[in-house]
């Protein structure tokens, strides 16, 4: 920490600049068609936000790695994996919920909920997602942790980068990349377990019997994790992610963001112990906030696109404030509005209830309610009737007319169920399955967790009826039922 204090003794022009600042300098000096990346060496920081970040890092990674191994009892030959996206079996399992591809609207609903929740949280508290929960942030944090383990903290890393190649540099760099690749492989390896029974796949994977998609997915995620978290880091957020651009529409002056309270900090300048704090700001221009920033920016320049609101500069600044004996919170989660109010010598106001937060909250409640209602009222059976289109009807020897249908009966329960099929709406109509004598009801078994395609013939005497008659198929199984409308064509428009 002495290094930080030391900077106060140096002339300001020698202070370490933010990466963005150095980039600007470089651009001024060289111009050029392409922008080189200025490496960022974030310094380790201690404090409450850092502690929260560590806790969330462990929690999110634990969720990611453990989830595929959770078991959930399901009858028969069904998968007992709690969370499984089964592309081969075309089912999505999530604990007690099981979804079919036809129910993809639930997934859409879930994504809408996620988007709205993100909007709401961003409008209220700024980019919490970016700073704490985004996989890019979490894995980058983890990779920097490894980097620090091999190469030391910021200054050591910068020295190592500038140093000529040596055995020491080689093993530190080599070790770091080896561990990175191991972590990346662990990431990609865990991903594939979400798509196939985890214990089975683990065995298959190492004996070369896993599907090729598993190996490709694993390789792809290993590569992206290694490149994104190890090499690209903040560039993913700045150049590749659309969210920093979109969030501009969510934020307003009342949104909480990591804020440099310029009303309190300015005018900034180095401070000597003997000096008075009168007539100057609390910022001693020590650049502690700059050197810890993983995005390589200077928070004192104000709200910026690159800022992921991780709060590490808050911890860094609080430490300095403690040291120089000023109150904490020169950098804090605050709103632009509050800063402006304080600058105008008015007490700051915080408004959580604003038009946009109310809109987002209402929309979120409505969509969540719809999805919950839909899941709670999910029918165990589903019925669709596909009319034969060619021929649309068949006239039989006695002048009666027969229409063919294919019924798709979906049994979403985990047990084979007997089902009774009946027809409504056409008096005297007879119902038959191929090979059966016409009657009023068809009884069939629908296998567990499957769609049964059932050919059905409906025979009726047209008796001068209209060309098109509305009808409805109904199924009943135990207490459950389903119905679907269809039409019966009598051929009245083209008599024999």
């Amino acid at each position: 920490m002495t290094t930080v204090i030391d900077t106060t003794k140096r002339p300001p022009e020698e202070c370490p600049k933010s990466a963005a600042g150095r980039l600007r300098d470089k651009a001024k000096n060289t111009g050029g068609l392409y922008k080189p990346r200025v490496p960022i060496y974030p310094k380790l920081v201690h404090g409450q936000w850092r502690r929260i970040k560590w806790a969330l890092l462990i929690a999110t990674l634990a969720i990611y790695y453990v989830t595929p191994w959770i078991r959930w009892d399901r009858p028969g030959a069904l998968s007992d994996q709690a969370v499984l996206v089964d592309f081969f079996g075309r089912r999505f399992y999530f604990f007690g919920i099981q979804l079919w591809p036809q129910e993809v609207h639930f997934l859409t609903g879930l994504l809408v909920i996620a988007a709205l929740a993100l909007f709401l949280v961003t409008a209220l508290f700024g980019r919490l997602w970016c700073g704490y929960a985004c996989p890019q942030t979490v894995w980058t944090d983890l990779f920097i942790y490894v980097e620090r383990g091999f190469e030391g903290d910021r200054n050591a890393r910068m020295r190592l980068a500038a140093a000529p190649w040596s055995f020491d540099k080689l093993w530190r760099k080599g070790g770091k990349h080896a561990v990175w690749l191991g972590l990346a492989f662990g990431t990609g390896g865990a991903w594939i377990f979400y798509f196939r029974d985890a214990p089975t796949l683990l065995g298959e994977f190492w004996t070369g019997r896993a599907p090729i998609t598993s190996y490709i997915s694993c390789a792809l995620l290993t590569a992206t994790t290694y490149v994104f978290a190890g090499h690209m880091r903040e560039q993913v957020c700045t150049y590749m992610c659309p969210w920093p651009r979109i969030q501009g529409a969510m934020l307003d002056e009342h949104s909480l963001q990591v804020t440099y309270r310029r009303d309190r900090g300015e005018a900034r300048r180095p401070h000597k112990k003997t000096e008075t704090w009168e007539g100057r700001g609390d910022c001693i221009d020590c650049h502690a906030c700059v050197v810890v920033c993983p995005a390589g920016i200077d928070i004192r320049d104000g709200s910026q696109l690159e800022c992921i609101n991780c709060g590490l500069c808050i911890d860094a600044c609080d430490e300095i404030m403690d040291r120089v004996g000023r109150p904490r919170g020169l950098i804090a989660y605050d709103t632009d509005f509050a800063v402006a109010e304080r600058a105008a010598k008015r007490p700051p106001k915080y408004r959580l209830l604003r038009a946009r937060t109310i809109y987002y909250a209402v929309a979120l409640t409505v969509v969540s309610g719809l999805v919950t209602w839909g899941l709670a009222h999910r029918e165990p059976f589903d019925l669709h009737a596909l009319r034969d289109r060619n021929p649309t009807y068949v006239r039989l020897h006695d002048g009666s007319v027969r229409n063919g249908y294919t019924l798709k009966i979906a049994n979403r329960t985990f047990f084979a169920r007997p089902v009774e099929v009946t027809l409504k709406g056409i008096p005297g109509a007879r119902l038959s399955a191929p090979g059966e004598a016409p009657g009023v009801v068809i009884r069939t078994m629908v296998p567990a967790n499957e769609v049964r395609a059932l050919r059905v013939f409906v025979t009726a005497d047209p008796n001068g009826a209209a060309a098109t008659l509305p009808a409805a198929f109904a199924i009943r199984s135990g207490g459950a039922s389903a119905e679907t409308t269809t039409t019966f064509l009598t051929g009245a428009e083209s008599p024999p």
Partner: protein, 312 residues
């Protein structure tokens, strides 16, 4: 080259373009974009080496991997026929009735049948099998040559008047008018008679005049009641199903010209297993009932009509 203007805030050069006071920044691309571009070039070069790529005068560069879509398709087709062999073997071993009783095997037969029907039968019988004028409807319960599984299979094998030694269709409908076997007036009267026995209003006097002609000329094949004979492919004249049409003009035309339908034999073209699958497919689409042809309705009553009842 003159010094370009720099934006004060970002330190980036501007392009010199300006719209309503807004200047366009000439922000440099990040360097890794350039690397990505070089990477794509490298991949392209590797691709040229490995895969077929460059056209020449009399061919093209084949690539080290020897990739050929044509060879791939041939390979796939081989795999497909190997897959089909299992199904074929099962079709071969089972009787038609067994195929129909086994849902899985029936499903397979239906798939094969649908594909073969679409390629070969649909030309005349229609894609859905509903037939057309002169081409029997295969979806109803009226069968010229029998609608049992075995009858359908046999018809597909030998055809109708196909030249096959066992072909169906020895009995022929004479051209009563064209060959001057009957006079025009007699054909007109017979038309009324046939209309009457199919349960419709007809000229009673004409029906009376035609009774003897019907007995002399038609009963031998169509039977005294006109219900036909499935064994010989003789149509039932009393039901609601008409191969060429039910109106008087069409009936008279048929009496005058005596058209006889033809269906090719498929024995030489299809394997026995394919014919089995086709029979199962056609049978199922027609209702899948073991003996689909029901006894003609109200034969006796219509006999009465034909005999000169005066209700019409």
């Amino acid at each position: 080259m003159s010094e370009r203007e720099r934006d004060e805030h970002s330190g980036t050069e501007t392009t010199g373009h300006e719209w309503d006071g807004i200047k366009e920044l000439d922000t440099p691309l990040p360097r890794w974009w350039l690397w990505t571009w070089y990477g794509c070039m490298a991949v392209a070069v590797v691709y040229w080496v490995l895969m077929p790529a460059w056209p020449g005068i009399s061919g093209y560069t084949r690539g080290l991997l020897g990739q050929s879509d044509r060879a791939q398709v041939t390979q796939d087709l081989k795999g497909l026929s190997a897959q089909r062999r299992t199904g074929e073997a099962r079709l071969h071993a089972a009787t038609l009735q067994q195929i129909e009783a086994d849902p899985e095997l029936q499903g397979y037969a239906m798939q094969v049948g649908q594909s073969v029907f679409g390629d070969n039968c649909a030309t005349c019988h229609g894609a859905g099998g509903a037939g057309g004028k002169g081409y029997p409807n295969l979806r109803d319960d009226v069968w010229l040559w029998g609608g049992t599984l075995d009858a359908i299979q046999h018809t597909i094998r030998v055809g109708v008047r196909s030249g096959h030694p066992n072909a169906r269709g020895e009995a022929m409908m004479p051209a009563f008018g064209r060959d001057q076997m009957l006079s025009a007036a007699q054909v007109d009267d017979l038309t009324e008679y046939v209309t009457a026995i199919s349960g419709r209003k007809a000229d009673v006097a004409a029906v009376g005049r035609a009774r003897q002609t019907f007995t002399d000329q038609c009963v031998a094949c169509h039977g005294a009641a006109g219900v036909g004979d499935v064994a010989r492919g003789i149509p039932n004249l009393t039901d609601a199903e008409w191969l060429y049409g039910s109106d008087r003009t069409t009936i008279r035309d048929q009496l005058w010209n005596g058209r006889n339908g033809v269906m090719p034999t498929w024995q030489a073209r299809f394997s026995p297993e394919t014919i089995k699958a086709l029979a199962v497919y056609v049978h199922a689409n027609a209702g899948g009932v073991a003996e689909p042809v029901a006894p003609p309705r109200d034969v006796v009553q219509r006999e009465g009509v034909a005999a000169g009842a005066s209700t019409h």
